[in-house]
Symmetry: C2
Subunit: 464 residues, 2 copies
């Protein structure tokens, strides 16, 4: 199974001609540019380059490209910065890439309504830098925030470190303009924070991974930055199960951290090695917790007590710079995994009380498949990122078998295949396991309502 | 236009026989019970009674009823407590009422996962009474919370007084089990707080007003009650426009009240009359604001300063009982409106900065149509409830004309027809004005995917 399922063997020779007639220099068939669109952060590579890239600069460009795609029945892969972790924006033979990275303007910022209207191609980090000048904040903070686009964040329903307290993308979008497969523009949602007129298509589009329509602008729900500076608790436990139980105890207490990250011994060891720090105690796992807002100090103290009572060694800091230093270890995890070899970064989520049980399952899978699976977790919302490390261009079958076991375990615990990365190419074969056959079919029919010819990101999410 | 559009003139004589064969004593054709289902809190009355009520006690009952409805092509109106304000649960000739009020069990409460699984018929207030024993809270708090069901809250996407800080139903549901029109059960969402597997049908069902499927259980996202007791600010302004500007200034400040309610002079006068209080100053309008949580005192003081600087006379209280007494005036508004005569309670929402402009529009409509339109507003989220008062069983045409003007004004300001009540019967003729014809048609096609025979609440929301 690969991206070639999505493409076609025979390409209408007129496609590039027609695109160029409509869109002139916004169309490129530059070989190196085409090559780049074969991959994303998933490590997956499509079997070959797409036919062309349309670098849209306006809604009209998106509409023109989709009209040509509809007329010629050509598949379209919408792509932002290409930082996705599930292969949803990977393009292959026979496909047009519709790039939104040049549509990167901020169209409106309203401090009085706590909203911003932006084009999809703006980077999350760039947007937040501009918003910060007005003491405003779009809370979604995927780890990729400095290199990923807002449109991509919305298309994947992205999460991040701050979700437990501040929600995901799903909680931070009021509306959006989309272009349908046939080129018609449609305005979803509204600028008011409440509204229940008709079906909530804004929510339906969030996380739809390019399969329903192309997002050409979004009305974002903003917040004020919480007052004061964060307090940080670093807690070290003898085992990962105890660290997971500690995180669960914090959830039960009702104290709401802004950040609660867990690192197991293998990921902690890899980061220490990468950063040249002394090796951590064998088997030890760590929680890095931050509280913020008016009650940050009291909340950090309460969390510290809870974790010490459970046997953790803790460090408590009210210094923002020291907190950022402590978080650096967690933020270096992705780089440390990559340094270990080729990786399949997984993304299951479970109910928060099941975090210890999920770590038991990961331990079992490590033993049964003879693998080491370094794992970090957004422990505040039960979202785990186990990394499967291997060598070579393709994920080995035994790694997929172990990953399949991981998914099944998460589902058995009431969780999900993917907490924040999406289905894309990588998890489509497990999609029906989670949804059930009936729902899988119903979702496909909803896709057909939006995209009757099946030209939007075919083979992704619902692909066979 | 009335509910009769939804029913049919000829009823399959076998429907009641078949229902009774499958469901025995759960089927009633008691005349008084049938009569009650012709109305809800909207003041609208269907042209005649439905054919039968199925009082489902289990998922299997719901499935059996829907299988009969499908086999006989009989329309089904799902109904909870009948407290809706838009006519979505009103039943008429030729229709089956599927009542969920007997499905009122709490199936699971998990303090460690901050979730509860409940059947749809439990009352919001009853659920929260049970949850409070474990220091848990389902935050959605429509004014009807003591008499409305959780299933109805979800089906309408209900709001309430606390939305600005704690969100609406949309922010408080992790998943649900639904039965499709043909009787198949489908499990949507999950028990983990994060998850992006496939399209977000849980969100799509929220606010779908019985048109897509029947909700038979819901997995609710809970919170801990905020610590401490609330602080209350009562602020009186010379005019409603100044009160609206005061509310907008609080939003801009970034201080987040839990409750921020606005009452204009007419609604304030009506409540004072109802409660036997001295008449308020002519033309004066009021904001009632509560802050809660760890910073409640500091936040109330900050809000008090902001509003005094804008010319308000304020009262500040840190006493919970006194706060509840001050809120009683606002909580009596609905009763006071009803005491004035027959009412059409409206529900537009606008971006928060447009609240003063929306009150200008209401003033213009009052003058142009020769009406008094007492208005209260959830000012923290820009949601206004203007009341049109009249005499008689039917809303007069001139009131509908004024209401239509109100809707158009809200849309022009970037808002919506309905912030929290839904479309139902009452607003279907304006639905396409907000959605646009293309989106209206696309939403209807999505309904057809769920309900190809069109038997679920026909004539509501998308009805002509």
């Amino acid at each position: 199974m690969s991206a070639s399922d999505a493409g076609r063997d025979t390409i209408d020779p007129e496609v590039v001609t027609r695109l160029t007639r409509e869109l002139g220099p916004r169309v490129t068939s530059d070989v190196r540019a085409l090559e780049e669109t074969r991959a994303d952060a998933s490590g997956h590579l499509s079997p070959g380059p797409p036919v062309a890239i349309v670098a849209a600069e306006s809604v009209a460009d998106v509409q023109a490209a989709l009209r040509v795609a509809t007329a010629t029945r050509t598949p379209v892969v919408t792509r932002g910065a290409g930082t996705g972790a599930a292969g949803a924006a990977i393009a292959g033979p026979g496909e047009i890439v519709l790039s939104t990275t040049r549509m990167d303007r901020i169209l409106d910022v309203r401090p009085d309504d706590l909203l911003a209207v932006v084009e999809p191609g703006i980077l999350n980090g760039d947007l937040n830098a501009v918003l910060a000048e007005q003491d405003l904040w779009w809370a979604p903070d995927p780890a990729s925030r400095d290199i990923s686009t807002v449109g991509g964040n919305i298309a994947t329903g992205a999460g991040g470190l701050l979700c437990a307290k501040y929600g995901t993308v799903r909680d931070a979008v009021l509306g959006m303009d989309v272009v349908l497969a046939d080129g018609r523009m449609m305005r979803l949602g509204r600028r008011s924070v409440k509204g229940v007129t008709g079906l909530d298509l804004t929510s339906l589009l969030i996380g739809s991974e390019g399969a329903l329509a192309v997002i050409v602008s979004a009305t974002l729900k903003l917040r004020r930055r919480p007052p004061g500076s964060p307090h940080t608790v670093l807690a070290t436990f003898a085992t990962v199960r105890e660290a997971a139980a500690g995180a669960a105890a914090v959830v039960v207490s009702g104290v709401q951290p802004a950040i609660m990250e867990l690192m197991d011994a293998a990921s902690l060891g890899a980061v220490h090695a990468l950063l040249g720090l002394p090796a951590p105690t064998a088997g030890a796992a760590q929680l890095t917790i931050q509280t913020d807002g008016a009650a940050a100090g009291a909340e950090a103290a309460a969390i510290d007590s809870i974790l010490r009572a459970l046997g953790a060694e803790t460090t408590l800091s009210d210094d923002a710079a020291e907190g950022e230093r402590l978080l650096t270890i967690r933020r270096s995890a992705h780089a440390a995994m990559t340094a270990l070899g080729d990786t399949l970064l997984e993304d299951v989520a479970v109910p928060r009380s099941s975090l210890p049980a999920m770590f038991d399952e990961i331990g079992r899978i490590e033993r049964e498949y003879g693998l080491t699976i370094p794992t970090i977790a957004h422990a505040g919302d039960g979202n785990l990122h186990p990394s499967f490390v291997f060598t070579g261009p393709e994920v080995p079958d035994e790694v997929w078998a172990a990953a399949g076991d991981l998914f099944t375990s998460a589902l058995r615990l009431g969780g999900t295949l993917t907490g924040e990365h999406g289905v894309g190419l990588l998890k489509r074969r497990w999609l029906a396991d989670e949804l059930g056959e009936d729902q899988w079919e119903l979702q496909r029919q909803i896709k057909q309502v939006f995209d009757p010819l099946g030209i939007l990101n075919p083979g992704k999410v619902f692909g066979a």
